[in-house]
């Protein structure tokens, strides 16, 4: 881009890019750990936290009350987090802004890599697409069908894959790739 490539950046710019990747990588690890401990990583964990609460008594639509015996073991002994609609709205707007800006910063650096245009376009798009799948999946899980929870997992993985590809390729070009001098 503009005749610049990552391998030809001045030292200060290389340090800047490297620290950006390191910071975002650590942030991703922290986010992963928080998601794993607070909600869980499997689609069923996500569905359990996001899907609307269903009656345990098979109370039909329009029925005013129902009762059934309960095995106390059915109640969760684990600390469980339920994401309700107001929290989903809050999470969506902060994550859409935050993740899109992070994806933008990653993409901005990656624009200067010497990877071919098509590959660059696809890899650069991964964190953006992952963010949209992630947040979109949360809304679909809550309001359309709990099985859409799988989209949240796929979205998170897509974001992570995009970050890894961008970081690895960029760091290689920043520090290891030898630019052929004309």
């Amino acid at each position: 881009m503009f005749g610049w490539t990552l391998s030809r950046l001045p030292l200060s710019a290389k340090v800047f890019c490297t620290l950006v990747f390191a910071g975002i990588g650590l942030g991703c690890l922290a986010a992963f750990t928080q998601a794993a401990t607070a909600i869980g990583l499997s689609a069923s964990d996500v569905a359990a936290s996001l899907a609307p609460e269903m009656p345990m008594t098979h109370m039909g639509h329009g029925q005013m009350s129902a009762e059934k015996e309960l095995d106390i073991g059915q109640l969760s002994s684990a600390a469980k987090v339920w994401i309700r609609t107001p929290l989903l709205i809050q999470t969506s707007h902060t994550h859409l802004f935050g993740q899109t800006l992070i994806a933008g910063l990653l993409g901005l650096i990656f624009l200067f890599s010497s990877v071919g245009e098509w590959k660059k376009a696809v890899i650069l798009a991964l964190p953006f697409v992952g963010t949209m799948l992630d947040i979109g999946g949360m809304w679909l899980t809550r309001f359309a069908w709990p099985s859409f929870a799988v989209l949240v997992t796929i979205g998170g993985s897509t974001f992570a894959l995009g970050y890894c590809l961008i970081a690895v390729i960029s760091l290689y070009e920043l520090w290891l790739k030898q630019e052929a001098h004309p």
Binding site: M56, A66, S76, Q90, F97, L101, L108
Partner: protein, 199 residues
């Protein structure tokens, strides 16, 4: 040279926006103090059998709560966990209620006796942000002040909480917890005691 300046300015501008975005993208993680099972077991001591009763409010009941108590129930249904003795008599009904605030959710478990009076109440979940505000009150077991109150009682802050001269945020969240306890008492009264009297 001009191109280089443009690129550097572009990167700096983007970094500023990212900094602002990250500051805004601040979602405090939840703090779960006790699991549902542990809360139900702790509040239903003496119960031999457990039941779950789910109730829907009629439009009239919703309107009555809104007009008389200033609370607009928004859940499709409400759930009670009922602990009964060997003879099938209710020992305690436990209900979980949540208020989602700007600082995250506050979830409370409330145990009610067969007469509709509060037997116990515990904060079960809150956010990392609200936790420091409520911790001194939780340590004080402030929900104990609402024991023996029913749906007709006042659920304002107790004298001992007021005497602590707390900041505004702990007082605000103490009032939210008290309101949730009151809502549980109201729902028990409305849907279990008044509706058919069969509990």
């Amino acid at each position: 040279m001009k191109q280089r300046r443009i690129i550097i300015a572009l990167i700096q501008a983007f970094w500023l926006v990212v900094g602002g975005g990250v500051a805004l993208a601040h979602v405090t993680p939840p703090v779960v103090l006790i699991s549902d099972r542990d809360a139900v077991l702790a509040m239903t001591a003496g119960a031999k059998k457990f039941f779950v009763r789910e109730v829907r409010l009629t439009p009239n009941e919703r309107e009555a709560l809104r007009q008389q108590r200033g609370w607009q129930p928004d859940e499709d249904f409400y759930r009670f966990y009922l602990g009964r003795d060997d003879a099938g008599k209710l020992v305690t009904a436990v209900m979980f209620l949540t208020e989602v605030t700007i600082h995250g959710p506050v979830r409370v478990a409330v145990g009610l006796g067969p007469d509709g009076k509060v037997k116990d109440a515990k904060v079960v979940e809150l956010s990392e942000e609200t936790f420091p505000w409520l911790k001194p009150l939780i340590d004080l077991d402030f929900t104990r002040d609402y024991v023996a109150r029913d749906s007709r009682a006042s659920f304002g802050l107790s004298q001992r909480v007021e005497q602590m001269h707390l900041e505004s945020m702990p007082l605000f969240y103490a009032q939210i917890v008290a309101s949730l306890i009151q809502r549980a008492a109201l729902l028990f009264d409305l849907t279990l005691l008044k509706r058919d009297g069969k509990i």
